[in-house]
Subunit: 343 residues, 4 copies
Amino acid sequence: MRVGVLTGGGDCPGLNAVIRAVVRKGVQEYGYEFTGFRDGWRGPLQGRTVRLDIPAVRGILPRGGTMLGSSRTNPFKEPDGVRRILDNLSGEGVDALIVIGGEDTLGVAARLSREHGVRCVGVPKTIDNDLSATDYTFGFDTAVGIATEAIDRLHTTAESHMRVLVVEVMGRHAGWIALHSGLAGGANVILIPEQRFDVDQVCGWVESRFRASYAPIVVVAEGAMPRDGDLVLKNAAARDSFGHVRLSGVGEWLAGEIERRTGKEARTTVLGHIQRGGTPSAFDRWLATRFGLHAVSAVREGEFGMMVALRGTDVVRVPIASATERLKTVPVERYEEVKVFFG
Amino acid sequence: MRVGVLTGGGDCPGLNAVIRAVVRKGVQEYGYEFTGFRDGWRGPLQGRTVRLDIPAVRGILPRGGTMLGSSRTNPFKEPDGVRRILDNLSGEGVDALIVIGGEDTLGVAARLSREHGVRCVGVPKTIDNDLSATDYTFGFDTAVGIATEAIDRLHTTAESHMRVLVVEVMGRHAGWIALHSGLAGGANVILIPEQRFDVDQVCGWVESRFRASYAPIVVVAEGAMPRDGDLVLKNAAARDSFGHVRLSGVGEWLAGEIERRTGKEARTTVLGHIQRGGTPSAFDRWLATRFGLHAVSAVREGEFGMMVALRGTDVVRVPIASATERLKTVPVERYEEVKVFFG
Amino acid sequence: MRVGVLTGGGDCPGLNAVIRAVVRKGVQEYGYEFTGFRDGWRGPLQGRTVRLDIPAVRGILPRGGTMLGSSRTNPFKEPDGVRRILDNLSGEGVDALIVIGGEDTLGVAARLSREHGVRCVGVPKTIDNDLSATDYTFGFDTAVGIATEAIDRLHTTAESHMRVLVVEVMGRHAGWIALHSGLAGGANVILIPEQRFDVDQVCGWVESRFRASYAPIVVVAEGAMPRDGDLVLKNAAARDSFGHVRLSGVGEWLAGEIERRTGKEARTTVLGHIQRGGTPSAFDRWLATRFGLHAVSAVREGEFGMMVALRGTDVVRVPIASATERLKTVPVERYEEVKVFFG
Amino acid sequence: MRVGVLTGGGDCPGLNAVIRAVVRKGVQEYGYEFTGFRDGWRGPLQGRTVRLDIPAVRGILPRGGTMLGSSRTNPFKEPDGVRRILDNLSGEGVDALIVIGGEDTLGVAARLSREHGVRCVGVPKTIDNDLSATDYTFGFDTAVGIATEAIDRLHTTAESHMRVLVVEVMGRHAGWIALHSGLAGGANVILIPEQRFDVDQVCGWVESRFRASYAPIVVVAEGAMPRDGDLVLKNAAARDSFGHVRLSGVGEWLAGEIERRTGKEARTTVLGHIQRGGTPSAFDRWLATRFGLHAVSAVREGEFGMMVALRGTDVVRVPIASATERLKTVPVERYEEVKVFFG
């Protein structure tokens, strides 16, 4: 039995831990051989492979990123893409494929499985934690930890200068990172994509915090939007002297608005890529490792078209398609719950 | 409405986060007043209180330990203990009590509630994660993170000298910390209280690791026992020249055995109290805060005799007594699952 | 003897450690009393004070920021500023002043001392490490540590996507943070304000790194400039739809140029305020504490007009004025030394 | 030109950074070839080598330990040791040797250089910072950082239970780690090998801390001794039931004494090997890298018998022999300076 492995989409702490667990268990317990495909779906598309055996996965558990590389390539959008994939899988002698990725990457797996009989097992990956089929995805806990530590650091700077600090965190469509890190970091305002925000209300919370003689921290997901906000942010795009397009992010925009409306100094920090890099947290290593172990068991048991998922403390199997059905966004009651800490 | 709050048993990162959430929500949403009792059940027993309002809980979210102090006092074992508690609660005008603690502390709450009608809501606390009614308890993730970071550090030392490093972690009756940190840290052997270990098998894993030209890390819970081990460890107690009793822990004992049987150098590190101190992880701040918010809601809704618990991503309520019914130990299949990484 | 204390300029990890050491030693060894002035020179200007005794400084050692607050107020630029300061110092019964700050704050102290006989002792503070009179200033080691950890994290993200990652760190006039964190983080290009950079040469290093099958990290100080660059960056300013001025930083600009010239994807992370916030490193706590101890000894010994400074492992005294004479920039040979790691 | 490299003695964060810098600069700037010797002096003694070129040193900068392995082998104590070393160096075609190690390892280099004309350049290494010829050695800052973080964590545990916490840190002959981490961690007592301590005075500081309603942290170097203490600790050795010798460390002994004399609960944490493992701090990466760069320059310039050393912010050269002349211990005035924080 030869099993292919690929990682697609944005990188995420824990990808290497999945790969290691898959290979360790596959080789030692089932005698499988493995083929690593490089750079997501581009690997099987172009026949680009990586050696994947036990020596190759030694020492990668604590390393961020993915030893296989990643890409956003979608074979359904490439000329003759599906046929080339089928040819390459068959040319490499690959009997089954473990696909580690988010909505897009798994969507391809679901379709290849359904339409072309490719024997796929999925492992869900999204740093934003927005896949509905699983309680958590690895990478999320690491990102929340990094953002929380940054917020911890910003408190003392804010207090020393009695300034507003706006922290923009990841989360284009779902506010989980903002919600968790904002709560854990003791933020005074948390803004998420699921709920349009009212700038005047934000300013009210900011001013209430100053009245208590403390300086406010505002955590804002990159996808959060003011009421009537689409227009505003679209217009904020500008070109610099070289013609590079620059889009003011919501964090910078909001800091400007707060300054304008409250007269208080405000500064922005955009955490950016440091949220998705580096060594995974213990929780993410644990989750990723268990996902890997269970994915290879699913291959063993012939559970193709399925994906591993976390339910409570158990790893279960669900149809890959269920990962992509709908986004898991922050429910309104969960957001309301934390408003007691605003202001 | 006046609500008493106390924290009992060993300290644990997240206790302050619970207290803060209880007070913020209780005061702001329900208009409650609070009385902090000092040092667990000793507080209501001796009428020792602490001011507990919004200014008092500012800034405590990221702080380890408990601002209320703690103890292992059990009023049922004190002369006239129950009557004194009832008198002091009534003297302070306390209408309900939020009790944050482990098996023993909550056991008192369950009994006071059942036998004397004290209106208690429980919040489960155990750094060992061994309460059966909840998926996780706060403090556990922090402890696992600290232990994992220590194991990460020990790998390079072990490799440089090609030595065995034995790491003794917390866990007297349950091996959760050993299991999670050992897995996350890439340990080559993990030993837990739930499964007696065979020293020769441990030596076999150690030697197999050396054969692969790596140095082994052995993670052992403080409560792990060799087969026929009770006797051994009891005898290992010794007295120093001042008559202090010194009990060799299992880690040190095991390192000695490995040296003797394999001829390889072995060293022990006992992580000890650093596992339970200091700032809580983001996960623990989040869990502890949500427990606090839901505990005060339970008071509001008159759900006395109940305790908050985590199920998946939801906070639910279960009878306090259920926390103390049985220990949540590591199931044998969960332990077997990780053995693929041994050796 | 009553001693005033103030902190001016940008906040910096270690300010609280200085304050604590000053007060502990002053009270316990010399029987001094202290007056804290709030918000830098604004404090004595407006007569705004803070209680400063041993209980007030308990627990502040590990806290970032400054319990006294800070500002950039310059009394020489305020109407009647000097007279108001002299009046307030005398009104508070302050016999001597310990002034903790950077070039501007200490410049005021030097002038008040020289021209008006105010008895000042200085403690140098600059997170950029650019004061010529001292080997190191506190805050710098913390900033370098945070930047290095961020660079560590970015490596795996860069590798996974084979992208260029540009990291913009602090350093408007001196490249110390870029130099140290770039070296410690294993950056492939380091750009500092002291040496104009050639974009084509940067692209050459970037491409050389890709040829070795690794992804490049470019660390750039915020004040670094391309050859003929002033013009470029001035033009890059833009206004968003609300009229906020947005200046593309050098990091974002450079990433754009690299993309344009090499055809490789490039991303920017601007570390910003997280570099100056939060708990100080052990080194900075040690340095700040020793500065504090020696500053109060200088007061005791009547060494006014002097400032503490680090020389090797000794704390020495130098004229305050010497702090402001010239900027300590990165010498060209120190920069050349690290170029062996470029590319 | 072929240059040999070896690392001897206890491992230390930064060894890999030295090796990487040596190889990068030697290959790129001088066209040198390198031979790595495995496990300290055992390598040239037994002719055991490791490939050492630019690909071999990629990615090792942030890794603790040493890729070359280490040992305490002393060729002068091995039969025919010197001749075998000379033969193997000549057999490998090695023209010069870069020796990275502490007192013992460098002592061998000094003697081989003086008595047998081996062309050696030294790089000083001691985690204890006790070499007199250099301001700092790499590894020390990392160890102090780890110990400080542990002390930070222990404060909240101590407070929650109002217990004494005794932390035993490294330092057999010199108290630098205890002094720096104790000061940075806000310890209430610091005990170092250079100054015998009086247990009653320690108990006095402990009780004074409790009177201020705080719980004391006592940091003790492993080599600290009570007055008349040799006898006491020698007697404290015991044998467990398997005949393993167990020596109570000074930390555990002291906690017992404090309990006995003050009646307060006391607990001990022995930090042990986690102080010397894992990724080096930014400071240590910087120092180790600069040591490596300057060591290979010394080879280039034919400065044999010399060792690199830090003086202020400069890397200088001193005779290797000067490293081993006398131990750099904590001067009494430096220790007196910090006593203001005791109690």
